[in-house]
Amino acid sequence: MLTMAEEDAELVALLDDQLDEDAKGRLLARLAKDEALRKRYEALRDAGAQIAASFEALLEMAPLARLRAALPSEGAPRAASRRFPGIAFRELAAGIVVGLLAATAAAWLVLGERGDWREAVVQYAELYTKDTFAFPSPDASLEAQQLSAVGTRVGTDLTPESVRLPDMQFKVAFLLTYDGSALGQIAFVDPRGDPVLFCVIANGAADSPTRSERRGKLSLSSWSHAGRGYLVIGRLPDERIADFARTLEKRF
């Protein structure tokens, strides 16, 4: 009698066409007679499709411009890595570093080893489009549930009332981790469907007043208070994002 794991391994080998003819024949015969086994086969098959699709999607996200710019040019001198001494790091030979890459590299130098959590959110937020959140909005109880779950982890009281923004529709709240700190993401859309994120990170930061900035097409307003960093980010006019931040800052 096979264990669950052994049975899964056999089904997966069938899915991946790695079984010899005899084993394949035997397994197909069993599948024909066993509905539970067939269901398990289908579940594993669907999971595999999801994995493959995810890997495919990841490929699309590669930051090609930065990667190309970081390729060593012929005969350029190598600079030691800040992070990993002994592994040659980015070469800043003239002609390789241009525009955005230079700004990014400069920001890294200023921010030091760990980088900026807001930069991480920017990279993530850049992927969002109207389609990302074009699903039915949750009902009030699900919204409260999600906010409460996130709020517990970041140590802030998050409720539908405390995060409400004028004309904005709540879509989903979920949790990430950045550099060991819990990072809550609360997503809204405006009447046109453009997403705005309200992020809270429990990183022990010192208090700081609201500041606004732009990263490409994204407008950001951020502040920190009581050991938490807060960020409002979206592809809306700077003034709107700043307004949202002012509204939220009063509550957190």
Partner: protein, 172 residues
């Protein structure tokens, strides 16, 4: 035939092929690096370090063989020997599988949050399973090729792939 001359020509061919082949491989190298390290900054460093080492060791590449596989092997070696060890020593921000993406109530959400879905699917798997899944399901390695690349028996490849699929299947 002049032995030294032909060796020099061979090296020159290797170097040319390596240099020319790096850029077309960048996206896949980055994906491999990201899946392995689960951190964007480390992934970019890893890709760059891989390209540098590939150029340094270009003489060892046999022209006409699979450059992509050779590059992946270099990347993996740098990760295992250099970067991973340093990150653990420095206590850098590893994202634990459980913490990487915790979406409460996610099961009730029917539609696909595209970017979150991608991260959730991959980041939550343990390293061994992620790696095997990337090679076989992302890069199209056969079980035997994956076993060879990872230095493990084929049976272990099989069970890691099954565990990866099973982890996702059981979430639904």
């Amino acid at each position: 035939m002049n032995g030294v001359g032909s060796n020099a020509r061979m090296s020159e061919a290797s170097r040319r092929e390596v240099r020319a082949g790096l850029e077309p491989c960048l996206a896949r190298l980055w994906r491999y690096a990201l899946v392995t390290s689960r951190a964007r900054d480390a992934a970019e460093d890893l890709v760059q370090a891989t390209c540098l080492r590939a150029i340094e060791r270009a003489d060892q590449f046999v022209p006409g063989t699979r450059l992509d596989r050779w590059l992946f092997a270099i990347l993996r070696s740098i990760w295992l020997n250099d970067i991973r060890a340093r990150r653990i020593r420095e206590g850098a921000g590893f994202v634990d599988a459980e913490d990487a993406l915790a979406i409460d109530g996610a099961r009730e959400i029917e539609a696909n949050i595209f970017a979150a879905e991608v991260f959730r699917t991959i980041a939550q798997l343990p390293e061994a399973q992620r790696e095997a899944a990337l090679l076989v399901y992302g890069e199209g390695y056969s079980y035997a090729e994956a076993a060879s690349a990872l230095g493990i028996p084929i049976g272990t490849v099989m069970s890691r792939l099954a565990a990866a699929r099973s982890a996702l299947a059981d979430l639904k």
